[in-house]
Amino acid sequence: MQFASTHKAPHARTEQIILFRCSTQVFAISSASVQEVRSVDSLAGSPMEIDEPTLPKVRHMFRRGEQNLYVVNGAVHFGLRPSPASLILLLRRSRTALLIDGIEKMTTMTRLQALPAAFCHEERVWYRGLTVLDQNVIPAVSPEGFLTADELFLLDALVSRMVVTETAAANGIGLGL
């Protein structure tokens, strides 16, 4: 005896994404990768300024819990013309906060295509792939692609030096006077 097949066509897997703008371009990021969206103004006063010539995309850092969070300017990271940023995306399970111009909308993607192999430079680290939405091709960013382990190491070392210098200055020591 055979039972009638109960097989149903599988539902398309979908992923919630946030479309955001940096300079003139739109990017997608998985909403699961974003922990918080903050206004730039809400961080005023607390961030520490960073001036590392080899990493112009990072100009600010702030402390959250025990961690240093580094603010990456999205436009500079992607080599786009700098523009006035208004929002910061705090990324989940990451020490990166992403400075963006604005959020376009939240939507759903059903298919992510691999970046064609002809793209063979940093974009392979920047993007998880490409998605097509409303007849537009949108790159889906990789949250891990904004700062490499080496860059984080460099920034941590820089911040440690800055903190030591500030502490020494505050205590009036180490000036040799």
Partner: protein, 158 residues
Amino acid sequence: MSMVEQFDARSCVLLRLGDRRFALAAEQIAELVAPSRVFRFAHRTTEIDGVILRRGRVVPVCDVAEKLTGKKLTSRRFYLVATQKRGASLDWVALPVSGECELITADLTPAGESDSPHVAAWLSHDGEVIEVLNLDALTPVPGDREILTQGGSPEAHA
């Protein structure tokens, strides 16, 4: 050298880039399409202009005219969509061309050691000696296998 070694009749597609004609092996050609919207996004591979959408597939646009003729194309009449084998996968690349394309069968003369890497062979057609292109030497090739693996296989969504 015997005639068998010297000549090998193959189907080729002739393409025009500005004033010059080149050829590609016909088996590398997927289709010839009218110019469509080129989508551009931030990247660092200077040889790639952007991407077009064909049958739901994202196809990079690579203008090889400057490498071959020294000049960028001023007008794009068609995109010749070619395929390239990269490991186990078959990649598509759209080459802008400035004129009609033609399918011919011709005897190919293999490229010599002194020829440029982009020359796979030579053919003679209508009194013209034409380079048969080696696409791998003209389009960007990932140099770092680790990077290719990292970015090349995003999780697929059904």
